[in-house]
């Protein structure tokens, strides 16, 4: 496939799928006559998007801030955890199984404790987002660290490279594509984390709060509009990260392209 066709298809195909789904949705509502209190039509959602754009944007600002900060916290802790697990068998044995198990804990049950410890406001929300994002970042970074060719480390030893130099010159760069993949997965999870966090910590703003409020007010069109903004933000974040990945790690892309030739 030529690259221009490829690029067009990149935008066109998901757009067509979306249009098709919207068409089916609208048709279903027209035919079945289901109440708009249960399921609003795409038409009504679009109208809510336009009418409430001010409110939506203001609350998006708040949620976006939470998400970006939450991801950054998760990256810092996740990266350090991955390196420690990679370096020390002791840490791996002690931490890794618990880390996996902790992912099965529904965050809802943590909300009261978090609020108790951290009070209401931004902090418990950041913790929830960071918790959601932490795991994918650890796993993919660790994967990157573990793909390092042991022969390469042997070679570094014949150059008298210290453990730190081996890490800095070989292991760390090898782990970067994994870390970026982890952040991309985390970005998508973080949106759900933000909604949970805002609802559980009783936040007074943000898209999660808006979802709660519109639900309580029986405004399904506005509720769906909020979800649209959330999804749109997740896609935007993902695309931005993909662009950043191409910029920062061109070599990883070159290798992929050569392999797929």
């Amino acid at each position: 496939m030529s690259s221009r066709l490829h690029r067009t298809a990149f935008w066109l195909l998901p757009a067509l799928t979306l249009l098709l789904l919207l068409g089916i949705w609208q048709l279903y509502i027209d035919v079945s006559g289901v109440s708009s209190l249960v399921l609003p039509s795409p038409h009504e959602v679009a109208r809510a998007l336009v009418n409430d754009r001010g409110t939506l944007l203001r609350n998006l600002g708040r949620t976006a801030l939470e998400i970006v900060c939450g991801i950054l916290i998760a990256v810092a802790f996740g990266f350090v955890a991955a390196v420690l697990i990679h370096w020390s068998t002791l840490v791996r044995r002690a931490l890794y199984p618990l880390l996996v198990a902790s992912q099965a804990v529904p965050l809802v049950i943590l909300a009261p404790v978090l609020v108790l410890w951290l009070n209401f406001g931004l902090r418990p929300i950041l913790v929830v987002i960071a918790l959601v994002c932490f795991f994918p970042i650890v796993v993919t970074t660790l994967g990157g660290l573990e793909t390092v060719d042991p022969e390469l480390l042997k070679l570094m030893r014949t150059f008298d490279a210290s453990r730190w130099q081996q890490f800095r010159r070989v292991e760390l760069p090898s782990a970067m594509p994994g870390l970026l993949t982890g952040i991309k997965i985390a970005a998508v999870f973080s949106v759900i984390g933000a909604v949970f966090g805002e609802q559980d910590a009783g936040s007074g703003s943000g898209l999660g709060y808006l979802l709660n409020a519109t639900f309580a007010n029986y405004e399904p069109a506005e509720e769906f509009a909020t979800v649209c903004v959330l999804s749109g933000f997740a896609i935007l974040l993902f695309v931005l990260l993909t662009v950043a990945e191409r910029r920062m790690l061109p070599w990883a892309y070159q290798m992929k392209e050569i392999q797929s030739r």
Binding site: T158, Q165, W251, Q254
Partner: protein, 242 residues
């Protein structure tokens, strides 16, 4: 200067059981500036021999003495995120030489080996022969008196390999202080073209079955009757059908 005396090495298998016996009583002395080619069938412990010389393995019994050695691995093992020139600098950078000085040291070697103009190219976009040359420059600039070359050209096509063997001969000769070289290969012709001595090893467990001195001057050609005769002699020692 390298000296191995009665070196044996057994790799322990899983659960501590007796594993693979890689080397069995290998004694070998290599003088400074000598080029020694080690030939033998696959799995005869040739790579293990180099790892012992480079200090990456310790012998089970016997002793290994060697001046510091730099390894050129079988696969080029270049770092995909670095440019060709930065890859060639790697050993220098590890030693604490700054980037500008390292690049200045790399430059003449790139010119000599036909890599000029490819300094900024990443390994994925270089040909196999070019990657091997970059890897060779990296090994050379590690500044060790001993070069341990592990089948450096095994992965190349016949034409490129012939070309590379030729420049390896020239490159080694063009250095101010000649290096001690241990060249492991399963290509008997390569050994006959490049070695001052040829060490022939037996199948696993590896033992030295012959130590031939090659009195021919370099550069040698593969059609030289003396080279052909040497090649046949080594093949016979390895048990190839005549």
């Amino acid at each position: 200067m390298i000296k191995l005396e009665g070196v044996s090495l057994v790799f322990t298998g899983r659960r501590g059981q007796e594993g693979v016996r890689a080397l069995d009583g290998v004694s070998l002395e290599v003088g400074s500036g000598e080029i020694v080619a080690v030939v033998g069938p696959s799995g005869c412990g040739k790579t293990t021999l180099l790892e012992l010389i480079c200090g990456l393995q310790t012998p089970g019994s016997g002793s290994v003495e060697s001046e510091p050695a730099a390894l050129m691995p079988q696969r080029d093992l270049l770092l995909p995120w670095l440019s060709a020139a930065d890859n060639a600098c790697l050993a220098l950078r590890v030693r604490g030489v700054n980037r500008a000085d390292s690049l200045a040291l790399v430059k003449p070697w790139f010119e000599r080996l036909g890599l000029s103009g490819f300094e900024q190219t990443r390994p994925a976009q270089l040909s196999g022969g070019m990657r091997q040359r970059v890897s060779f420059v990296r090994t050379l600039l590690a500044g060790k008196p001993v070069l341990a070359l592990d089948e450096p050209f095994a992965a190349l096509d016949a034409l490129t390999r012939a070309e590379m063997q030729q420049w390896l001969g020239t490159a080694l000769a063009s250095e101010q202080q000649p290096r001690t070289v241990v060249l492991v290969t399963h290509d008997v012709e390569e050994a006959a073209l490049l070695g001052d001595r040829i060490i022939v090893m037996s199948p696993r467990p590896g033992r030295v079955i012959a130590d031939l001195t090659v009195p021919l001057p370099r550069p040698r050609t593969r059609t030289d009757p003396a080279v052909v005769a040497l090649r046949e002699q080594v093949l016979e020692l390895l048990g190839a059908p005549v």
